[in-house]
């Protein structure tokens, strides 16, 4: 045991080891020592039993013994709790089990061989090879004195959650009309002006009576049980990519507007912390607690048929008919890209040094290879931006002819304020400012609604600009 001065003894039970692990810490040592003493007693008793029943025990039998040890430790631990106030040394001295050699060894090891450290916490765990590792045992009343108390300001900063009973709602209010303005500015680019959604972003209004249909539409009006969920989620995670940028009043206003879009309030409605819990959503009672235990699980717990279970088998549906599996070529592109990056680093360095003007040169005679790579990178953008024939504005503006276009220059797209300012100043997209924007959208155009973190490498930016340069205004 001397190799493990801060740990407890290794007690052999036939061929299987039972390890009681002890980790040393601080002033609640007495209690811990008591636990250890109890454990030692239990083990000592079991050890004798095991020795008596000899070495050639089967592994299974040993496992049983181990389990008994664990149980006894827990039982004993409760008994010795009364002695908690006693100093650790006394406990060791008085330990009734000290007459058993293994236990003595253990106490010596834990109490004194560790030098200055105090004796130790026990984490009562028996281990046997035939077992999965155990959980750390019961530690009622034991703490580690780690961490520090949270200051009220700190708790207030993070404790933003709202419950259906209104717990957590801050004082504030917002009406439907204000909500519409805030929503159009911050939400409509993804969720649509009327909550109908753009592309595959979530629909926020309607869907009534669709829950039994083939394609149910789950909105706050049709499905969500509680209004507090709307407030909480908008406040904690929206707008997407600008989380927690809305004021409390704005969140009340957006929530009011969503109620209005779902025909749940009139247009003169104002929502506040005062009237919040009076608003109930239509599907509140549409939910019930998981009941698999009562129905499915018993039904699915019968011994199944193994032989001659059916006469014939027909294929009833095939995935190839739907054909929605992603193509393999993506993996090939990745492979190709990986090979390219095996090229000497000098090329990359050169690209990094290349000033933006070189991008302009490339545009004049665009390298097809760059364009092809750019097409791959554009995958990151195409959820929101379209290019090519028939491209239209979606979450973001279409990008045909974006190089050379006035910033914020499409009349039929609702831009962020910062784009309107750039437009007023007559600024035009070129490789340089577009490159800077792509590298750090929010840094280059503070307040942009584009929720994209930016392209990570100069290479990606260069190929993206090369790709975009191939689409002329239509």
């Amino acid at each position: 045991m001397s190799k493990f001065p801060n740990q407890l003894a290794l007690v052999a039970v036939a061929t299987t080891s039972v390890v009681a692990l002890s980790v040393g810490l601080s002033e609640r040592a007495a209690y811990r020592a008591d636990l250890a003493a109890a454990e030692a007693q239990a083990m000592a008793e079991e050890t004798q039993a095991a020795e008596a029943s000899a070495v050639a025990e089967a592994a299974e039998a040993e496992t049983v013994v181990t389990e008994e040890v664990t149980e006894e430790v827990v039982a004993e631990a409760e008994v010795v709790e009364e002695a908690v106030e006693e100093p650790a040394e006394d406990v060791v001295a008085e330990a009734p089990v000290a007459e058993d050699a293994p236990a003595e060894e253990m106490h010596a090891g834990m109490a004194f061989e560790g030098g200055t450290s105090r004796p130790a916490l026990f984490v009562g765990a028996a281990w046997a090879e035939s077992h999965e590792s155990p959980m750390i045992g019961e530690l009622e009343g034991i703490t580690f004195d780690l961490g520090r108390e949270a200051l009220p300001e700190e708790v207030a900063a993070w404790n933003i959650d709202i419950r259906p009973d209104g717990q957590g709602l801050p004082v504030g209010s917002g009406d439907v009309w204000t909500g519409e303005e805030v929503y159009i500015e911050n939400c409509a680019m993804c969720h649509g002006d009327f909550g109908e959604a753009v592309g595959r972003w979530p629909v926020l209004a309607g869907g009534w009576d669709t829950l039994t249909h083939e394609d149910p539409v789950k909105t706050p009006g049709s499905y969500w049980p509680y209004l507090s969920t709307v407030w909480d989620y908008v406040h904690r995670a929206m707008p997407y990519g600008q989380a927690q940028s809305l004021t409390d009043d704005e969140v009340y206003a957006i929530t009011a507007y969503l109620l209005y879009l779902n025909n749940l309030v009139d247009d003169d409605f104002e929502l506040s912390n005062e009237n919040f819990t009076e608003v109930r959503l239509p599907n509140e009672d549409g939910f019930f607690m998981d009941d698999r235990e009562e129905g499915e699980i018993p039904a699915f717990s019968e011994e199944p048929c193994m032989e001659n279970c059916k006469d014939s088998v027909e294929i009833t549906m095939r995935a190839t008919i739907l054909d929605v599996t992603p193509e393999e070529e993506e993996a090939e592109v990745t492979e190709a890209a990986a090979e390219t990056s095996d090229e000497p680093a000098t090329e990359e360095a050169a690209a990094e040094e290349a000033p933006a003007e070189e991008g302009a040169t490339e545009m004049a005679a665009v390298d097809p290879a760059l364009v092809e790579e750019g097409e791959g990178v554009f995958r990151k953008c195409r959820a929101c931006h379209q290019v090519g024939e028939g491209a239209v504005n979606r979450t973001g503006p279409h990008l045909n002819g974006v190089l050379g276009r006035t910033i914020g220059g499409l009349d039929d797209f609702r831009y962020s304020g910062v784009f309107e300012e750039a437009k007023a100043a007559g600024e035009v997209w070129g490789p340089e400012n577009l490159g800077a924007y792509l590298a750090d959208p929010r840094g280059a155009m503070p307040g942009t609604k584009m929720s994209f973190a930016g392209l990570r490498s100069e290479d990606e930016i260069a190929v993206m600009i090369a790709y975009l340069s191939t689409f002329e205004a239509q």
């Binding site: 916490l121 999965e132 590792s133 959980m135 750390i136 530690l139 580690f144 780690l146 961490g147 520090r148 949270a150 708790v155 404790n159 959650d161 419950r163 592309g199 595959r200 972003w201 979530p202 083939e214 149910p216 789950k218 499905y223 969500w224 049980p225 909480d232 904690r236 995670a237 997407y240 989380a243 019930f288 607690m289 998981d290 009941d291 698999r292 129905g295 499915e296 699980i297 717990s301 199944p304 193994m306 032989e307 279970c309 014939s312 088998v313 294929i315 009833t316 549906m317 095939r318 995935a319 739907l322 929605v324 599996t325 992603p326 193509e327 393999e328 090939e332 990986a338 959820a383 973190a453």
Partner: protein
């Protein structure tokens, strides 16, 4: 944000091309039996036999062989509105054993993979506790730790298959799962440090990312086997898996395993937040919905052969393998059928059988070159038997999205190509 579970047709693709590509990518040319010309792979010196390989520092952090570059997570673009709040899939058909390598563990995040400086990370415990606490990572490292192998399965795994066979490949049908060894602090120790008040009934873990993910978890589970983990497979959590610290909720749906864990609130009622109301509730045929369906039912899938991993060797001795798991215990038994369920055989389990962990099974057989209808059926340690998809639909209809643990069928044709099908 939203996942759409019914597919939209992509541009062009033939399943045969996919199968062929997978075959070429993963299997070296075989020499036909009875060949008389000597094999140049043996008779000719290869470059690697002659020239020196890389020195020790060529890759301070090692990566897989370049010949394995096809073993990657893949995404299904039509599933989500963008690639930030999105999901990708573990390449189960390329893996063996029970441990998922960290680099191919599937990802699902709701506000992107937060890049957190561990020195600036804090974990707060507040609410119904005697003392509201703040821990640094350094503090957390001083608590006793445990090591456990657990599977993490997204509740939406196989969610695209409710209405019928849709995606061709176990990576896409079953790849929202990984299985790693976590090193972490039992959550009960942290809660005890703060001191639970007697009316503490629920906790609300919260993430530090831009989605500030939250889920309500009953206190019984929190005090049972939850871990606050900082390592996976021995190394620090990967960024996309919640670095520097995440919650581990063994056997329960992956969404609850809050990543980038920054706060745990203790309360007396559930919060009914977005991911436990509008999402992760199971809509049934009659329009009502189950809530708090936390446990993952027993499930299995044959990973090889499968659509991305066809049989390329022709008739003869064939290794069939797959994985099985249950949120309620271990998997003592898996049955396999080659004929669409007329006759079943017990598979051979191999590797550690751990509570709430993936299990590996094999079934070796002599393939006669005729078409196969392959299925596997898991039995867990509670006696639960994995149901067929039709059995599940009888209870749930087709709209519940989550918790689809129905039996998967692969049709293997005479050429060894496999397809996702449903059968009578």
């Amino acid at each position: 944000m939203d996942m759409k579970f019914k597919g939209m047709k992509p541009s062009r693709r033939s399943f045969l091309t996919g199968a062929a590509a997978a075959g070429v990518g993963s299997v070296a040319a075989t020499v036909a039996k009875g060949q008389t010309a000597p094999d140049p792979a043996i008779t000719e010196l290869q470059d690697w036999q002659v020239y020196l390989g890389d020195g020790v520092d060529a890759a301070p952090y090692g990566m897989p062989s370049k010949h394995e570059s096809h073993v990657v997570r893949r995404t299904v673009e039509w599933l989500t509105a963008d690639n930030v709040s999105s999901i990708n899939f573990t390449p189960l058909h390329e893996l063996d054993g029970i441990i998922t390598p960290n680099g191919v563990c599937f990802e699902r995040h709701h506000g992107g993979a937060a890049e957190i400086d561990p020195a600036e990370h804090r974990l707060m415990i507040n609410g119904l506790v005697d003392k509201e606490l703040v821990f640094t990572m350094e503090d957390l490292m001083r608590f006793p730790r445990e090591n456990h192998v657990y599977f993490l399965e997204c509740a939406a795994n196989t969610g695209m298959e409710w209405a019928g066979a849709q995606l061709n490949g176990c990576q896409f049908t079953h790849g929202m799962i990984h299985n790693v060894m976590y090193t972490g602090i039992p959550l009960k120790l942290l809660l005890a440090e703060a001191g639970l008040k007697t009316n503490a009934k629920w906790i609300l873990p919260e993430g530090a990312d831009a989605s500030a993910m939250t889920r309500s978890i009953p206190i019984e589970k929190a005090l049972d086997d939850c871990l606050v983990a900082f390592k996976m497979n021995g190394e620090a959590l990967r960024t996309e898996q919640g670095y520097p610290v995440r919650l581990v909720v063994p056997g329960w749906e992956g969404n609850m395993w809050v990543k980038w864990l920054r706060r745990i609130e203790v309360g007396d009622e559930p919060w009914h937040h977005r991911e436990e109301t509008s999402k992760y509730t199971d809509l049934l045929e009659d329009g009502t919905a189950r809530r708090f369906t936390w446990e993952m039912d027993a499930k299995s899938v044959i990973t090889n052969p499968s659509p991305q991993a066809p049989l390329t060797h022709g008739p003869g001795y064939t290794v069939l393998t797959g994985v099985a798991w249950s949120g309620r215990g271990t998997i003592p038994r898996v049955d396999v059928t080659l004929d669409g369920g007329k006759n079943w055989h017990q598979a051979r389990m191999s590797g550690p059988s751990l509570n709430k962990s993936m299990h590996r099974f094999y079934f070796e057989f002599e393939w006669d070159g005729k078409p196969l209808l392959l299925q596997s059926r898991a039995h867990d340690s509670t006696g639960y038997v994995q149901p067929t998809k039709n059995q599940l639909r009888e209870w749930r209809g087709e709209n519940s999205i989550y918790h689809n643990n129905g039996i998967q069928t692969w049709y293997v044709n005479e050429k060894g190509e496999a397809e996702n099908v449903e059968i009578s």
